[in-house]
Symmetry: C5
Subunit: 104 residues, 5 copies
């Protein structure tokens, strides 16, 4: 899985029927920057994910890729390859708290 | 999933039997360029996708990769690893509309 | 899926039993070079693919990756992750014919 | 599979129901640096993995990606794409011991 | 699939139960270097693979990635994402023999 920040959303009125009603969000994967004490940095990459957990723009989330994105009750059998599986509250790297949702 | 622009198409007269009749399109994945206010930029990569939604050249589409490309009614059990699952109308990044189909 | 040119082949006399009789080809994935009018360029990457369609060295082919490589009649249940699914006759990019098999 | 060092962990109180109780760890994939006698070097990449084997921070572990992450008794049918499948005791590269857990 | 050279091995005494008895090898993927007449060059990347064919250190092998690594009799249902499926005897690129096992 990977950490990502939700940066946006998209509208697609003409799409595969089973995707109607699914929220489609744009996320930027994050990486731990060891050179900067473990701070979370953007990678510049762009993914579109389905959101079965109700996250909001700007939040840091945990995303799953591949066939496993179909293994939540809300996404079963959907033609999707990426989904949010959790909203991240806190990230620890080598005993440092490098991200805390309540600080944002 | 990833955003992409349809840049072309290909003809293959000699192919796996189950692919006969499938439209094969060439797409270039796009990324959100945060340095440029979230504008959609080409990545220079090239994918071939099956199109079960009827998109046209030049359009921005949402694509799925991997086994999930087989999870639409039109692509079930096909030997494909990428498909268009939606035509994109609008993309929002940090409250800015960075893409609008009607503007193109 | 991706476009690739067949550049070679390999011999493996000691292999998994189910692969006996399968042709193993070496391919180089291609990309559309928009800076060069959409010409197909090599990427320098190397894949080994199974060939259920009978392609020949030097040809441009369409390849599938991942679990879907097992979704042709000839490759069903094989321990393979890449297969040729079509021989490419022609590629169009933005109204230009950037590849034509008969020209080669 | 890939070698990785566990660098941290994360807390997600709002997540997909089936993930409740699963330990989520942050790992950095390692590579063998042939230029340095086969020493294990960090790659700078960041993955989040589920840990069914009980590893601890700082340990070098073996990780599996993709659908196979669901093939342990503890992770069956979970919406995850990466899991630890072993704690690494020793790594040999070209007759040199490049990593030994007891030396750390 | 990809070509790789076996560069080492690893020991993991504490691992998922189904992996007990499986040989875990370290491999470096190879690529065909067209600039050098098709010679096989290391890519600097590192993978860990299961070996159901009995290959030895230093040998060039054919590896499969993803769910298909579970499609050999020896690896069925294992939580692995990469396996050796053949020992390579010879590689031809554009009519040149760029690798021959018996020459090594």
């Amino acid at each position: 899985m990977f950490l990502a920040r939700i940066t946006g959303s998209l509208i697609s009125s003409h799409k595969v029927q089973t995707l109607v009603g699914q929220k489609l969000l744009i996320v930027e994967p994050l990486r731990v920057d060891e050179a900067d004490g473990g701070a979370l940095k953007g990678t510049g990459r762009t993914f579109v994910v389905v959101d079965p957990v109700g996250a909001g723009e700007g939040e840091v989330v945990l995303c799953v890729q591949g066939s496993s994105a179909r293994y939540t009750p809300e996404t079963k059998t959907l033609p999707i390859d990426a989904a949010i599986i959790g909203i991240v509250d806190q990230v620890q790297v080598k005993a440092n708290t490098v991200f805390k949702k309540s600080d944002e």
